[in-house]
Point group: C2
Chain length 206, copies 2
């Protein structure tokens, strides 16, 4: 049995969305499952690392504006960049871990719908109503969801997941860990693929 | 006539060294020249962007320790990571632009020797004596060099180059600009190659 790929991401990261459209298919080609782990870049990048968000970083923000659409084009997936003030993924991420306790596959489907809502439809995912709409399409009880999101135990699931990600030194989104190899970035699919194919870092044959 | 690739880098960046071992060969395969432009990450990353060096950034520094040797292995080039306090590339970069005025090809050869000294031999490049040793191997007069390094006009060449890089929104090392497309990182050679081959961002045929 090969180990699953751990896929860490924040819903607010467009590069995570891009990666999310491809990673399961790539993994399956090599007989691997993928465990999805949403985390909060606000905690990791700002609090732990002491950095600013990309779009508030001079020069890098200019680059992102050019790079995001061309990466989407290269990966052949639609991408809309909405302008949303105060965008955050706390409710969506708590919901993910709450659904996951019952049904990991359904949680993944929820995550896909959140990504789609934000990065394809260009609609906000921040508030409970938005999250609740997506949950409803999956046939999950939205009243139960609203109660769960107020529940300290459910809040603790996300807090634990964010801490576990920092513990594993995850700092960017998307971030993969495959057989203990950490790989950061949607631009490193070539490296993910190399490892899945060869299981080592010897140069690829020409 | 196709335009040359602009290759921006700081000598103190191991990823720049890795890129420097490959970029000219890749460019030549597609009929392109490469213009090398050393700049100072200390100015760009710290002063303009307000960030910390990678090795002082929590989590990212752990990643770099794992990533640098495996990238070198993948690219099939030797890499030594020396521990040098106060490493900086000001003298080497000034020297580069001074030689370049006389002979661009010789300047590139000088740059290769600086990269080799630091990242293969693991020897410091910071002080004038170190730079002078490498200049000497190229048959350039080291007395002239020492005078040049004190010359305000020569200092201005580097200052101008650093400003020009910021102007073009170069923020990382290595950084390529090809036909106005900015591409950051030694892990994006696949993207450099895609552009050189296709001249657009349409998905590569399977």
């Amino acid at each position: 049995m090969t180990r699953p790929i751990d896929f860490y991401f924040d819903f607010i990261s467009p590069y995570a969305y891009l990666a999310a459209t491809k990673i399961d298919v790539l993994a399956a080609k090599h007989g691997r499952d993928v465990d999805w782990h949403p985390f909060l870049m606000g905690v990791t990048v700002m609090q732990v690392m002491g950095l600013k968000p990309i779009m508030e970083t001079p020069l890098k923000s200019d680059y992102a504006l050019i790079d995001r659409p061309r990466m989407a084009r290269l990966m052949n997936v639609p991408l809309t960049i909405p302008e949303i003030d105060g965008l955050n993924s706390v409710a969506a991420s708590r919901t993910y871990y709450w659904i996951r306790e019952k049904n990991p596959e359904l949680a993944k489907e929820f995550a896909r719908r959140v990504f789609n809502r934000l990065w394809v439809q260009g609609r906000d995912i921040t508030d409970v109503d938005a999250v609740s709409e997506e949950v409803d399409t999956l046939g999950v009880d939205t009243k139960e969801l609203r109660a769960a999101l107020e529940d300290d135990r459910v809040k603790g699931l996300l807090r634990g997941a964010v801490e576990a990600a920092v513990e594993r030194k995850v700092f960017g989104s998307p971030f993969f860990i495959i057989d203990d190899e950490p790989i950061w970035g949607a631009d490193r699919f070539w490296m993910v693929e190399h490892w899945l194919k060869h299981g080592n870092w010897d140069p690829a044959p020409e």
